[in-house]
Symmetry: D3
Subunit: 324 residues, 6 copies
């Protein structure tokens, strides 16, 4: 039964453009609030782009996605899932960050997410650049051990370093996560990879660790059903993280991002892909790399919000199954 405290405001009562914007029009439940302990899935923002080596602006992603997410409704027409009926969701606000200090920001984020996990809340955030995922994964893995990952992206984000030894950027989080033992490469699938390489062999490291990399070309050849079969087989029923980089979408669908690559996925393809993850054990998730200053049409934020809803439907399945 639905808890009225955690029900989104409906657009048939209060128009969608009205009211202060929260994620999916859920209540704002900040740390320390009395409702905090009753939340099962916590949506939040990481307003940070300290790891970006390209066009910035991802720090503004959470606020713009909050605005766009007021267009989201309750019931997934394709799957029938109503995540707000399945579990108690809330907007937990934004993680603390320090825009002028990368290392300090990563610590602040890790602490914020650690508190969330400690309360038994499943964290789903909107970024922020992709380096944000590293401290989130650190916090989660403290609670559930190394995770598998469904990683949907145009880039593998597994480079070693930039600028003569810079180890922490939005192009390196998953190399670091594997090195730290918090991400299991054997249970990791990267889908949608495309775009030119800096140099031959740029892309080998991840495959060598055991990651299953499905380039966008291969994705088109295999078809979504085969991709999903392989993906589900890889990640199995163990703890899995879902990371969705908005630049997997073609820039026609998502212009507002820092490293756009032409020749990408449509939103319809992305929806089919995420919906097909139903049944995995989702212990955390994100939608990252939304950069509002480049989102001239607002489509990127809308796509991010809607795909966050699709991911929420998957996570709500995990949570409700665990509580049955």
């Amino acid at each position: 039964m639905t808890d009225r405290r955690f029900t989104p405001v409906t657009g048939t009562q209060m128009p969608r453009y009205a009211g202060a914007a929260t994620l999916m029009r859920l209540p704002l439940v900040l740390p320390g609030s009395s409702d905090w302990d009753d939340v099962q899935i916590g949506l939040f923002g990481i307003p940070w782009d300290g790891g970006t080596t390209n066009r910035p602006g991802e720090r503004q992603g959470p606020r713009q996605v909050r605005d766009a997410s007021t267009m989201v409704r309750n019931v997934n027409r394709a799957t029938g899932v109503n995540p707000f009926a399945l579990c108690r969701c809330a907007d937990l606000g934004d993680s603390p960050v320090n825009p002028a200090d990368l290392a300090d920001s990563m610590l602040r984020i890790e602490r914020f997410v650690d508190d969330i996990c400690t309360s038994g809340i499943v964290p789903i955030f909107v970024g922020g650049d992709h380096l944000s995922t590293l401290p989130v994964m650190r916090a989660i893995s403290k609670h559930v051990g190394p995770v598998g990952m469904v990683h949907i992206d145009a880039h593998t984000d597994s480079w070693d370093s930039y600028f003569d030894g810079q180890k922490y950027t939005h192009g390196t989080p998953f190399r670091r996560a594997i090195e730290e033992g918090i991400l299991d490469p054997k249970r990791t699938v990267q889908i949608g990879i495309r775009g030119a390489l800096y140099a031959d062999g740029d892309d080998c490291w991840g495959r060598d660790q055991g990651i299953r990399v499905i380039d966008f070309d291969e994705y088109k050849r295999l078809g979504v059903e085969q991709v999903l079969r392989e993906t589900r087989a890889r990640v199995g029923s163990q703890a899995t993280y879902v990371s969705f980089d908005i630049d997997v979408l073609d820039p026609a669908y998502a212009p507002g991002t820092g490293t756009p690559e032409i020749g990408g996925m449509t939103t319809f393809e992305a929806q089919c892909l995420v919906r097909g993850l139903e049944g995995i054990t989702c212990v955390g998730a994100d939608v990252v790399e939304v950069s509002p200053p480049f989102d001239t049409s607002g489509n990127t934020a809308l796509a991010a919000a809607t795909l966050m809803f699709e991911i929420l439907c998957v996570a709500a399945g995990t949570v409700s199954k665990a509580n049955r």
Copy 2:
């Protein structure tokens, strides 16, 4: 033979960006003009968004589509149809409206279209929000009786009410039309429906009345040929209205609309769909929900103008057959 009075200005004489913009560069034939009685298909605008419950701006649609429509040429490359050779078309200007009074606007629109129908002109309008279709349908049905409908849209627009009893919004026109007996649900097909629901069962009413609802997912599975076969079978050879809500297109193709939903149709798919309607008995049509303030690239207006041309080709077939 082509009547020179009703021939569009050609871009090889007067550049397309030149001159005051009229729909498809046709002559402006306002009510009372001496040429009025010779018009067979009347294009016009309904500059109104009084029924919108979301982002507004559709009132500005007709003017922006007039501008974009100056890019349209004469002969449909795919079908070979030249509507301006088949029948006498004109831009009838815009319907009167009252932006501060919903009921009064609906009356003004109905009277304007009633005059058009009385002169034997087939009305095709560019909106305006989708509630505009209701008074247009009221006027048409006075002349031809209840109509069937090919309704291409992301939403069924068959909700009951908003805001504690508000019966007339852009989300309710077809519920009202069926209740009023001017739209025959058995001869109605809704194509392209997608997006989340407010609540379970939201979508049942229309199906219960006998509407054939083809979700976008089902459309992708069936393919356009099968969808067209079913559609033509449903509407048969009786009077049929064609309503095209621009939000059926993916926001990548049509950002300028009030209720965008990701995961939608491409313009190529929409063109194939509309072209496949050739041969139906088209007694009226519209392209609605174009909101210029959100049309940052101008693509939405261009899509609306070009699809209006595609629909005009279908309607010209009806008119020229009737006059043969």
Copy 3:
């Protein structure tokens, strides 16, 4: 002493782009909340443009101004006033509205503001179109009687009717207010009026009622000091409403509005004007006609937010004096 509950989040702790956006980063205190009764000045939005006869979009004003208002800081450098130290301020959320019914919207707004006044809270809202001011003034005058007004605007908004008898539009609120006896024309000053007229004598009615109308031309000739002397003399120490229509600013400063007029005020001039109102008895105020879809640079929302802060400083003076 400052009540920590009502202190804005500071940008030196949480970056200004972070967190869900509320008006001036104040806490969201919705009706029914336990903190409601402690609020002294209530900021809120009226997300409505049902009265607009021109370009719409003002319904989206409150949300965009919330976003921009996170740039506001605490202490007015020019006057030294810190309104958050002087009294307890909060974001009360948005008034209920019905976008498809003008009369119903006016009732909902009046009820919402009546509740605010009943709790002894001074209402300051961001619109919304200028018709919003009418129901707000109705509610306020129930509690304090007829008000005087400092009205800063490009237009007098005192027309009689549009569209053959439409009495309620954003061009008519002050004619109605005077007719209803809730606005005292003798204590009303209109500053900044400019732009062409529909017809000779358009502008006489207000002057005939006793309003002091200071055209922008006259304002430039008199200088701000003389204008302020006259204004303060007119409104005296009795209950006064401050209405700031953003279109008083030149469109170079505020492009995002429905009826822009070139040749207008700079933001510096507007700040000097509002600051000069210090000492009047402000019983309510607004900043209206912000239309985000036309605010391509975001400057309009920033101007609205900053001028709302200037007005808040004036109102905080009234409240703190009353409580001394």
Copy 4:
């Protein structure tokens, strides 16, 4: 008495955003129309940027200004003039042009304007780049002899040539006009000139011919009253052309132009300047260099339309005096 045929559509009947856009909502009276001979002042467009050496797009100026000009009303609040009551005005459509041939375009424009002058209509056009003024001046001077000129611009547009001998560009029209003897430099005033020079002495030629050049710096020192006194003295009561290059405005007020220069005029200053020309003998006029693709806010077109109205008020004075 006002001739109903030539009365602008009013915004209190038909909203300003409604209907096909014509200049100031006047009737479209194309060459050959039966109403043509009754027109006294003809507004039209020259959709051409063939002379531009910088950013293009001025060819789209007329259509965008038509759209913006629907915001114009009838009576000049500052001067009391109602040009539509003083004389019969119409939108004559656009001049023919050939976007791929500069010389051919100039011939087409000259012929079009010659026909206007032959009918005794005073031509006022919206450009188009500044080279458009040359063929217009050629046509006018055939009928009234050499003209004087009030030229309001950031640039003198009196360079000799570009690109190794290119004599006809938007930087050269007035050098050519003086050489051709159709513009009297002694009766010419250039106001608002600013921006860096290509080389020392760039600016001497015009002054050597006797043009009174008032740099923007000097304009600020002298004040508008002194500038107007000198200007009126120079041009006297003989035939005078008014040319208004929108780039005289600061780019904050008019971003949509090809050669923006910072440090320019406000629209308020421009309005005061144009209004002060009342009483001169205006035989033709223009507003040029509006480039819609760079007019991100629409302010440039609005400024152009409103200043065209101000110029129309001046010209209407000339026409009505001549007919008294």
Copy 5:
């Protein structure tokens, strides 16, 4: 072995947004430079839109594509080709043009490209409107004789004339090239043609000359593999020019162009098409009709830059084979 002089700056050393922008971050080697004679493939711009009959702005294409091209990396992920390892590439700057004289511009361009060819450099340019291709083809054919062509475009650009006899516009280059005997229609394939016609039979001339025209509809039916088979068979191993008009892409992917047509190609489809040309004998190429003022999202320039890289990979194959 890679020559360090001709190596692009890498984004892992100097961020992609840093430094003056050159094509693909290659060194700028202007005519007369000492490195000129070592260049094998010369990328350059033609900043010219003198032939455009529609929306202009293509003159600004080269600079914007330079900016976007700094996002390009070195190794084609799909084909493994690293063009910068295969041959020495450079940015040769822009061709001289005369924006106010069409014929003079064509001469300047032809001379510039003649110099390139004389030095044995393969020319690949970014336009500019499509008429630019004519003088380029004239220069190339002087060196290699008549060429075949792979022409990817929404339009055949083979019209005869505009505006009563204007023979040179962006709609006519290939009619002229065939008439001049520098383009072999039997070895020419046009792919992606769509959009309405001015009149019946508009499209026949090219087919009558022997061009293989593959409408976008036919392209969708045949599939890319079949289209490529036919294309390769047509052009054979003789000298072939590749002309890519960005408007072949759907406006959702490339809004920034002068004559957009809905219902077009995705960038993924375009990439597959160009990649499939590997092995032809590419003697010159272009990407044209990028109009930055209409490229609100920057996607058009990014698509142009990335497709230029794909074409460069094909040309590098030709050059490296010739030098083996």
Copy 6:
């Protein structure tokens, strides 16, 4: 006499939109180039926003200003100065930076500028956020000792720290510079300061050190002549740095910046102010805080480029006097 190597490309030969964009169309003279030692004034970019606590994007400033600066011509109309005739100027490219490491970036910048100073070149850069000025000043002061400063800005940028102890942000450079003894507060003037404060007394530190702070209000009261007199008296004839933060301009003039404040300076006022610095001993300068993603009209970059030219005129005076 002018050295042809260091002469800007002129717009009367090569249109301003043509060619790869360099600062003021000067030659690109990168470190190591043979021409390096002959440069007297070096323009360059610092593509970095690592210190920004607000909206980012300043890292893209240099490239956009390069583009806009191609509009600049040679001779200052107001002062007659031609800086390119007075001394040898060049575009030195961009400083190395590390977008993911603040401290490392500051070192890279300092080293780059140290090399410039060592070669006797006067450095003038375009930012980049205001923290960039700190390493530049460190490098300069190594060569000339502590500097005085004319600081034109909306903010004093002399805060102590953010986010619990973050000492290096764009809000703190001048506090650090004074603490390090490289900036002499007694010879420092801050002009144009405005905007609310975080807390009372926020602003005292600088005044306590002896900085002359001229708030924008005071600037308006004193007038530019009085402000200049005081400024020149303060900085005297000793080494002086000029720092121009673009946010001193009103957002109507410069929307593209991270911390906009309404009520600011016009570009005309800014030009008069900078021109009045002629005669000071300028040893370095900057224009900072240009954020292209928010510069929707391009006006900010144009203002930055033109004001950089004005500052260059001042610096050229210093250099040419030193060399006489």
